[in-house]
């Protein structure tokens, strides 16, 4: 984008305090890590302000200052802890060099509209900083486990070797444990049996309910909707306690009267329980898609001689399919991530992945859990990407632009 506003150099009285504030923010991290946040803030602010002064007043050459900054930071990082930190510190040096000249040369103003007041400019960047901080707050707990899952030790600890990027401190043994250990494989298998069946049941029942509830002549719509949605609202532990007693009787009936094996009856119990948890998600997403569905299409189909079933499968279903699929994905993830209900309703033969992770976390803090978590994070990201793509497609079909 071309520059909107002509830029001019800014006075030191503006550059130094702003750069110092940015330095203080970084100093807060380092300082807290080393004992005192306050000292960190002050030191960080002082160091960055001093560097900015040096660059602008003493060196006066942007290209030279860049290399001084990168090499200087990298050198300090190397002395402090080795190659890994040197690379990180070099990048930090690059950033602060960029920041100082960005402020000094007034480049931050270039791409903004000329008539903005200084307050509006400050808010423009302040808003982005706040958004970035919130993003870090949300994503760090997830990202921090990923390197840990390659730990060569059996603890949730970044060893000194890991921080030095020593290849010996990393290993794939926790992934190997996951793929070779019977308990993990059994629970993986159970999750992959239970979640799809629960999803199929939730999707069928949930879609039917949503289609029924969208009819204009349906009485007690609100009440029925509330009851169907309730598994999502009632605290899980309460549903789980109720389900435990309900499914115990059902299980006894299936085993003793119908003569099913204990294991088979166990799967049916858990699948049904998870289907109940998944149905609200399907109802909500399908109802939302049905809002945009033009009911005159069904009347037109009926007019041309199609029965209700044909109309549903040939006309309505293709149009609401994105809603059905995203509801199904939510139902799948609900069942795949669920630990409370399965702990109550299932027996050890139906142990799912989250159950295995839960007991593993309590009894033995093994990084295999982190390896599994990493795999699940990747799978979840893939599933959510699919949901998002479907949502955009459905909005495009309805003539809206993706928000």
């Amino acid at each position: 984008m071309a520059a909107l506003t002509p830029i001019s150099r800014k006075p030191l009285s503006f550059v130094l305090p702003t750069a110092a504030a940015a330095g203080g923010g970084f100093g807060l991290f380092l300082g807290t890590g080393n004992g005192s946040g306050l000292i960190g803030v002050l030191l960080g602010a002082a160091v960055i302000a001093a560097i900015a002064y040096g660059f602008i007043v003493v060196i006066k050459n942007e290209g030279l200052a860049k290399w001084i900054s990168i090499v200087g930071f990298a050198f300090v990082g190397y002395i402090y802890s080795g190659v890994a930190l040197a690379i990180t510190a070099g990048l930090i040096g690059m950033f602060y060099h960029w920041l100082i000249y960005w402020l000094y040369e007034g480049r931050y103003r270039a791409k903004l509209l000329p008539y903005l007041t200084p307050g509006q400019v400050a808010w423009h960047y302040g808003f982005r900083c706040i958004a970035g901080v919130i993003f870090i707050f949300l994503i760090t707990p997830i990202l921090v486990i990923i390197p840990l899952s390659f730990n060569a030790q059996d603890f949730f600890t970044y060893t000194p070797g890991m921080l030095r990027l020593d290849p010996d401190a990393y290993s794939l043994k926790h992934y190997q444990d996951f793929f070779t250990n019977n308990e993990w494989q059994r629970s993986m298998k159970n999750s992959l049996i239970i979640a799809p069946f629960a999803t199929i049941i939730s999707v069928s029942l949930g879609t039917l309910a949503a289609v029924g509830l969208s009819q204009s002549h349906m009485p007690f719509k609100g009440t029925i909707m509330a009851i169907l949605i309730s598994p999502m609202i009632v605290p899980l532990i309460i549903s789980a306690t109720g389900m435990f007693f309900f499914y115990s009787d059902l299980g006894n009936f299936m085993e003793n009267t119908l003569g099913m094996s204990k294991n088979f009856a166990g799967y049916i119990k858990v699948i049904l329980a998870h289907a109940v948890l998944g149905i609200p998600f399907v109802i909500i997403t399908v109802t939302a898609t049905l809002v945009g569905f033009d009911q005159s299409l069904t009347r037109a189909a009926a007019n041309m001689g199609a029965g209700p079933l044909t109309t549903f499968f040939r006309i309505q279903m293709p149009l609401i399919l994105p809603g059905v699929i995203s509801g199904g994905l939510f139902a799948f993830i609900t069942s795949f991530d669920e630990v409370v209900v399965v702990l109550f309703v299932g027996s050890a033969g139906q142990k799912t992945l989250p159950w295995q992770m839960f007991t593993g976390l309590r009894e033995q803090i093994s990084p295999t859990i982190l390896a599994v978590a990493t795999i699940l994070v990747v799978v979840s990201i893939c599933l959510l990407t699919v949901v998002e793509l479907l949502r955009r497609r459905s909005e495009r079909l309805r003539g809206m632009s993706p928000a």
């Binding site: 030790q153 059996d154 603890f155 949730f156 600890t157 308990e183 435990f244 007693f245 115990s248 009787d249 299980g251 006894n252 003793n256 204990k262 294991n263 166990g266 027996s347 050890a348 033969g349 142990k351 007991t359 593993g360 309590r362 009894e363 033995q364 803090i365 093994s366």
Partner: protein, 368 residues
């Protein structure tokens, strides 16, 4: 409905009576509940795999021992007991036995004799603390410390935990009064023999809490056995209590710079119970498994995997080397004479009587 139940019960009884010697009437699946982690792995190596191979049985592990009492209550209430054999600590076994949730075991007829013909009741001896309990291991709760963080003089007594001048830094203690109260009194000058007499009194309990109060700011409280090794690995604590097997794994398998402080270690027992309310086939299978898994050789075999002492006297001489590390296991047993110079045995009667009272006081003190 009632008639069907009676009929079923009668049939069950008849079947049970008819199958005392019949091997074919045992179920082919066995759900075993244990603690998970390295401990379950040791049981798998020493008991489950050999048993499953010899008998063609599928063994399913459920790592739910931590909530065994609550879950067994709920299962029995719902008339749907899904567990066949449950690994619990002795205190839980006593509770389950009192509530009728665990079946009584006659050691001499239901458990194997020692190889020299000694009866099981004699071989287990004092460790048969309840009629329903089949002891398996002796473990201890003791301290480990970071050798690189405690300074030049390594701690030698449990009172180092209370000495924040000589050993500054955080300590990890279990979030319950048991053991902590005893150690506090011991380090407050109470003689070992008098600890429980003192702890039975109001003043004694206050005295123990006052002693704990002196280090309260330096304590990180743990609730799962895996916490302390993790805290030691992080260097977040310089010393901490946990089960000796966990410390063994941290020292010998993970090579952490940690050493054991065996002083005033507290012995406790862990073993099996069989829930009541099993079908005759499942009960027969559970009993058959127990007979196999608690014989002299099998108990000694478990010590190849984890540093817990076998509960039978006759197993002790058979304890060999660690299966993968190849080191002698005997010196790592809590019962080894070098480690057991100063020990406590978990006082079941005392804690059964005072647990609720002292728990309430302890929790109130924690929250202060």
């Amino acid at each position: 409905m009632k008639l069907t139940k009676t009929l079923l019960a009668t049939t069950a009884l008849t079947v049970a009576a008819g199958m005392v010697n019949a091997d074919g009437h045992m179920s082919s699946e066995l759900t075993i509940v244990s603690w998970g982690g390295a401990y379950s792995a040791s049981q798998k190596g020493a008991y489950h795999d050999p048993y499953a191979e010899a008998n063609g049985v599928t063994i399913i592990n459920d790592d739910s021992s931590a909530e065994a009492v609550a879950k067994l209550r709920a299962m029995s209430e719902a008339d749907n007991v899904t567990w066949d054999v449950v690994d619990v600590v002795a205190a839980d076994a006593i509770r389950l036995c009192d509530e009728g949730l665990a079946m009584e075991i006659d050691a001499d007829t239901m458990l194997a004799d020692a190889p020299d013909g000694t009866k099981a009741s004699e071989d287990f001896g004092d460790l048969l603390v309840s009629d329903c309990f089949i002891p398996q291991i002796v473990y201890s709760t003791t301290f480990g410390y970071r050798t690189d963080l405690v300074g030049d003089t390594a701690p030698t007594t449990v009172c180092a935990v209370f000495d924040t001048d000589a050993y500054p830094g955080k300590r990890a203690l279990e979030k319950r009064p048991i053991n902590n109260m005893e150690w506090a009194l011991l380090c407050d000058g109470v003689a070992k023999g008098d600890v429980y007499d003192v702890l039975a009194t109001q003043e004694g309990q206050d005295k123990a809490l006052a002693k704990l109060d002196t280090i309260k700011d330096d304590v990180i409280w743990w609730s799962a056995g895996a916490d302390t090794p993790q805290l030691l690995a992080d260097g977040e604590v310089i010393m901490g209590s946990t089960y000796n097997g966990r410390l063994f794994a941290a020292i010998e398998e993970q090579k952490l710079p940690v050493a054991m402080l065996w002083d005033a270690q507290v012995f406790d027992l862990d073993g099996w119970i069989i829930p009541t309310g099993l079908s005759p086939e499942r009960q027969a299978r559970a009993l058959d498994y127990i007979m196999f898994a608690t014989d002299t050789q099998r108990l000694a075999d478990q010590a190849q995997y984890i540093s817990y002492g076998p509960a039978r006297k006759s197993s002790a001489p058979l304890v060999g080397k660690h299966i993968s590390l190849g080191i002698d296991m005997a010196p790592h047993m809590p019962t080894d004479p070098n480690n057991a110079k100063n020990t406590f045995l978990y006082n079941y009667e005392f804690w059964a009587d005072y647990r609720d009272d002292i728990d309430a006081k302890f929790q109130a003190w924690l929250a202060k």
